[in-house]
Symmetry: C2
Subunit: 489 residues, 2 copies
């Protein structure tokens, strides 16, 4: 057997085990009885140890040295294994264990602090998490920017500096757009109650309308919707709220976007380093373009309005135009996950700047709340009223996920680029969307992006699909046009 074949055989089992770990996570959020929690922690830990040992197995180094790549697939596989091996090998095992233990503890402390609105109870724990992740980042970075080392876990090849410039440009046009919108009359809200079974039935119909394939997946309920798994077993979850069926429908479409990426990857990459989405940013571009540019378009919401009338009868919204405005309603709010298309990125930009400063050491954890609240007031024009609406709202930092937030807006930026190209390629798309037929959109994304999985780097994945380097311009143009029309700015 050649070194390359041996490497791929070993890697295949590692990927299969990683799929199992992912499915355990799915089980925990959807099926697991509550009392099993402590046992599950041990099961997770045992599997994590096996995976860590495999990812740092010194034979990988030998195989990598001897492996010869005959084609672009082999080049990409070797690139990905090299990256994973180098990253895993640079982190001392005891530091990895310490981080796992501390973040597991910090997660519980955060959840309690959030309920009690008690920032002081969380900060000492957060300080430890920041210190450990910085230590890890410095070990991986080898002299380069430690934030970039963390970013590479979610968006390989990206740098804090480039993202910073892109996000600054976003902010420059998003803040005035937001301010202009909020001076206009606010569209009406939904006011009636929507039954759960109707929401779930229409949610499933939406998933299928966006091409979700239940032969290779399933839909369940979970507290926080997510998509999990790769290849032939990609499962999604959704949730319901009697007063807000959009939460259910757009969560579903969002997760179907993630799942479509995984389900759309060329089967030849199954259980290889190329067999799952290439980065969080590219992943989010798929969930966002499904959810927003397609799902919240005037044409598609016209169809959805009819579906909702069929499912729920008259629900107090008079016509398609009023429904479109209702779906795309922009209003004041504190919570990132509930934000509309315009304000969502402002939430992310705030977190990106703050976490970058935390990791560089320019901002101390003790000054974090003031920094958050000041920046929020500057961008949104009003003050945080309580910590659960401010720095305690997100789980990410308690889990040590520094470098994750920017991928949300990067995904929106990528979605903007892809949407521009898609519209050029399929000029009459709205005719189909108005009939609830997304196949030309999802087909274009599959053909130009999803099928390639991890074959190219994240930026190259986007530029291969669009024919241009990623830029924030298309997203900004799209948002300004859509909301200027809608709010008659």
């Amino acid at each position: 057997m050649t070194a390359y074949k041996a490497l791929m055989a070993f890697t295949r089992d590692t990927h299969a085990l990683a799929q199992i770990a992912g499915r355990l996570g799915w089980d925990q959020e959807t099926m697991m009885p509550l009392g099993a929690t402590p046992q599950r922690a041990e099961e997770h830990g045992a599997l994590a140890s096996v995976l860590h040992a495999r990812r740092t197995d010194p034979r990988i180094g030998d195989w990598l040295e001897a492996a010869k790549a005959d084609d672009e697939v082999a080049v990409a596989n070797i690139r990905e294994v090299r990256r994973s091996y180098a990253r895993a090998s640079k982190v001392p095992a005891n530091l990895a264990t310490e981080i796992a233990k501390t973040t597991s503890l910090a997660h519980r402390v955060w959840a309690e602090a959030r309920v009690n609105e008690d920032v002081a109870a969380f900060l000492p724990m957060l300080e430890k998490v920041v210190a450990l992740r910085r230590e890890e980042a410095l070990a991986i970075a080898d002299g380069s920017d430690p934030y970039d080392a963390l970013l590479a876990d979610y968006e390989p090849g990206a740098s804090g500096e480039t993202i910073g410039q892109m996000f600054a440009a976003l902010r420059l046009r998003l803040v005035p757009l937001r301010n202009a919108i909020l001076e206009m009359p606010v569209p009406e809200k939904l006011t009636v109650v929507f039954d759960e079974s109707g929401q779930l039935a229409l949610s499933e119909k939406l998933a299928l309308a966006f091409g979700y394939d239940k032969t290779y997946g399933r839909i369940d309920k979970a507290v926080h919707p997510f998509s999990s798994g790769s290849g032939l077993d990609v499962r999604i979850t959704t949730r319901t709220n009697p007063h807000d069926p959009f939460n259910c429908f757009y969560s579903t479409i969002h997760e179907v976007g993630h799942a479509a990426y995984e389900q759309g990857i060329d089967r030849q990459y199954l259980l290889t380093p190329l067999g799952s989405g290439v980065s969080m940013g590219v992943h989010e571009s798929q969930s966002r373009i499904y959810e927003n540019q397609i799902g919240r378009s005037r044409s598609f919401t016209g169809w959805l309005f009819g579906q909702m009338r069929d499912q729920f009868g008259d629900f107090g919204i008079a016509n398609e135009d009023a429904f479109y405005a209702c779906v795309n309603r922009v209003a004041n709010g504190f919570i990132r996950t509930e934000a509309d298309e315009v304000q969502y990125n402002l939430h992310v930009l705030l977190r990106f700047d703050i976490e970058r400063a935390l990791i560089s050491g320019d901002l101390q954890v003790s000054d974090l709340e003031a920094a958050w609240n000041d920046r929020f007031a500057a961008d949104f024009g009003y003050s945080i009223d309580k910590p659960s609406n401010g720095i305690l709202q997100d789980v990410h930092w308690s889990e040590g996920l520094f470098g994750y937030f920017p991928t949300y807006s990067l995904g929106n930026v990528y979605a903007g680029c892809l949407h521009e190209s898609l519209r050029k390629a399929v000029p009459d798309l709205d005719t189909d969307l108005a009939k609830g037929d997304t196949s030309k959109a999802t087909g274009w994304l599959r053909e130009h992006l999803q099928q390639f999985g991890g074959l190219r780097t994240p930026r190259d994945t986007i530029s291969h699909a669009t024919g241009a380097e990623p830029s924030e311009e298309p997203l900004l143009n799209y948002l300004e046009k859509k909301f200027s029309d809608l709010y008659e700015l």
Copy 2:
């Protein structure tokens, strides 16, 4: 760290990984999308390799040599690890792989042959399976009886000879009992249709009535009911049939018996070699005593009759006595899994004698069908009409599970012993059972058997609970009394 502590820490992770493998099996039978099958096979394979490597890790040999046992728990742990390590180490890795591959293939060939009633299509595959398992048995047996080596996987310490004597004694009294019953008028059957939601609701009520704890488990539907998992996560499944709600109810009670054993084991044994049921026979004793001696008793069926009337209204059975006769109806049939308490063991005895002869070499696979059909006619008095009612009815042999069948009847024998002791300890049990209260029965079983898990050998587990060596007498006495009364023999 002492050698014993190091051994136990290593073993704990292995048990945690084995729990994960079990949960994957549960997922496959209840939740997994059909299209995921090939990927799941690779995931299972990867985890099986990890488990095999851990179970044959040479460090276990070193630890075992150096380990000192300070108490009976440590003695039992070392005994169990030594047994597992010796067994795993004696089988060459390539033979283990060959068996896994062949049985996986044979399982598919069997399923197809069964549908097509095509014995000839299955026999060459079965021949391979028998040859491989014989080779394995000879490797483990080291000169002793190879069938006992296989038996030890399911019932450590048992021998084909002892079981053979016990089963011969069973057959001597069961055949005449069966013949006498079948000369009497057959009780009436259920004839109406029972809706699925009502069956599932009452099935859950029954599970809870038998003490199943949903904080540490859950109930789902599956084609073939099973219980899976140990410790804090023990899940059961059931099934429904519109014409036969007893299938649902007694499958549930049966699986609750298995689950109660796992849920009842002392928590100090969690994820250790003592943390799950000690053998298949002892496991089956719990499922059978829940299902039969308790669940099919006159007193408990009296309560169940009322529950069914509440759930389904008048379903055509006039009173408690007629219902008791209906539940315990004995009639001609070909299928083991559908057999009543009396005939079930005759099905098992037939398989035991035949598989023992296959493994010893006294019976050739080419003569298998004739041997089966002759024995069936001798014990049951009529002939097999088609292979799916004969040698193709069970999955076990295609999966290489030789030595498994006898544990079913061993479980019934053990249940007979336990039931005799239980009735002595709780003389007024029927008063409670008539109210649907099983707590004194399940409490006695938990206190005298379930809590000990793998602490004692299987036989010692039973004799510790009953104060006597296991014997077939109590089961035979119980069956003769119950069915003589019921059929007025």
